[in-house]
């Protein structure tokens, strides 16, 4: 039995009505990010069959209070489940992988053709700026792949606030609704992206075929230590 089987439903008329429409998404071209540790991290789109594996793996983090891993893990869980069950419109999900091992997770979605919404960035391998690099990768997707004008962003942790709101000089937009609760929304505009991407967004393309091959398969995750 495939790991996806339990999420399969009959695509009947009702299910058709329940599924969100799509405005269309372009593929994200994988890239290699050289880490300070000497390792090479591949950022690529997640495959549907990998999602249930990660859902199981992050469950223990629901009790990990430090650095807000509990709330981020719980929310990522629902977002990934929403993606699997076709209940979120135009969601994307990227892994950061090092030799097939999960180093980080980023996701978000398109609100409409010109506005994006950042969901979460979770670092599994800490201390190598993985989170900062993955966040930049998803902003790259919004602006440079989907040609959007702005991305709505919130932060659950002080680390996130420092990394995104402060370092990218995000514009405060408390009146713009964000799906992640009633916390204040900030906006990364195209102008800010163009200003900061030279310093924030790195990665080598085309990705080395050897590195792509080494990360073709997501390795089983026995335990996540953060």
């Amino acid at each position: 039995m495939s790991v996806l089987d339990k999420y399969n439903v009959e695509l009947n008329e009702m299910e058709q009505k329940l599924r969100p429409p799509t405005i269309g998404m372009v593929p994200y071209e994988p890239k290699v990010i050289p880490l300070t540790t000497g390792e090479d991290m591949l950022v690529r789109e997640a495959k549907p069959e990998e999602i249930p594996v990660v859902l199981e793996a992050i469950k223990p983090l629901f009790d990990h209070v430090a650095d807000y891993y509990d709330i981020v893990a719980a929310r990522i869980y629902t977002e990934l489940l929403g993606m699997l069950r076709y209940r979120v419109q135009d969601e994307y999900l990227f892994w950061g992988l090092i030799n097939g091992e999960l180093a980080g997770i980023v996701n978000g979605r398109l609100v409409n053709a010109k506005t994006g919404m950042s969901y979460h960035t979770m670092t599994i391998k800490r201390g190598a700026r993985v989170g900062a690099q993955l966040f930049a990768a998803k902003m790259e997707y919004h602006f440079d792949f989907m040609n959007q004008d702005e991305v709505l962003i919130v932060a659950e942790s002080p680390n996130g606030f420092r990394r995104w709101m402060i370092e990218y000089e995000l514009e405060s937009a408390p009146d713009r609704p964000h799906e992640l609760g009633g916390v204040p929304t900030y906006v990364l505009t195209r102008a800010l992206w163009e200003k900061h991407k030279g310093n924030k967004n790195v990665g080598l393309r085309p990705a080395d075929p050897e590195i792509i091959k080494a990360n073709e398969v997501l390795k089983p995750i026995s335990e996540i230590k953060v």
């Binding site: 300070t36 002080p158 967004n201 790195v202």
Partner: protein, 398 residues
Amino acid sequence: MREVGIIGIGHTKFGKSQVPFLDMACAAALEAMDDAGAKTGNKNVIDQVFVGSMGSGMVSRVSGIASALVDTLNIRPAAAETIENGPASGASAVKLGFQAIASGCSDCCLVVGAEGMRAVTGWEGTDFVATMLHPTGEYPYGCTLPSFAGMFTRLLMEKNGVESRDLSIISVKNHANACLNPVAHIQNKVVLERITDERIIAATNPLVADPLRQFDMCPVSDGAAAVLLVAKEKMKDLGFDGKPFIKIAGIASATDTHYVANRADPTELLAVRLSSQKAYDMSGKKPEDIDVAELHDAFQILEIAESEETGLFPKGQGHIAAREGKSEIHGEMPINTSGGLKAKGHPLGATGVSQIVEIVKQLRGTAQERQVEGAKTGLIVNFGGFGNNVVSAVLTNE
């Protein structure tokens, strides 16, 4: 003066503490007491406790930490004092413990250094550390320690030809050493090319205070370290007979102008030079006798400058020595085998004691994979302010 040495050491894992501040300080203290075989309650022989902490009251909201620690450890009625001397608080506390025993006022002192830096945000932490700068000439103008270190680095780049890559070389070395130290805050290997490659450096090693980048400075850490000091002549009477005794052969401090702009030459770290010279003189040792050193590399440029001011390398040659690998564990003058402040971490008040703990391990021969073969004499430099109050110590196993 009586001979004073260390018979017990303790050290928490630096990083983000998962326990309250007082518990963290007590954990290090208990480990040092256990190491020496010291007892509590009516069998206690510790008659004096010094705790070095820069901001236990301001940041961790626990003031009178020495009094709290003595009661928590059940070693009353030992005298208890908290010492605040900026980032040099730890070594200052050891110095006072040394003086108490050497003078005959005390026979056995517990010295603890402890700091809880992660209780506040990075901005608040940076601001708190900056409060030790000149209150009218520096702090109100937004000066911080990273900004001073940036200016200091720029001057040494112009004066001695230090390059940004030299700072990275030291950073990589100290990260490698920290990977061998179980109590270090950051235990990630760092590859030189990844933090110096111009194509990716903005993302992998971003500028913090020009010309300093992220890997040119220490992280913000919680942590505690402790040492138990005893008068050698009293070891048997106090029940410590046979315990390894690492002698504090020399310990001294010196000061410089508070206002950095008042220094005749801001590239000179006069207090480092004078305190280390006093420690050498007191111990009868010279720079060439030093087998291993723990220098205060809150910024990597300080490891270079201190290695010169202490005479370990000639003036203007510290960065060249680093390039040549001389300060690596198996180099001719190993520096910061613990990982240094850069990677072991820098919980301000704990740092000086932590440096001494590392030297004790080296001189006992128990530093495991980072052991410097045959180490007999070690040096520490604990740097306060931007060099306006520095404590140096020479330890030996002879």
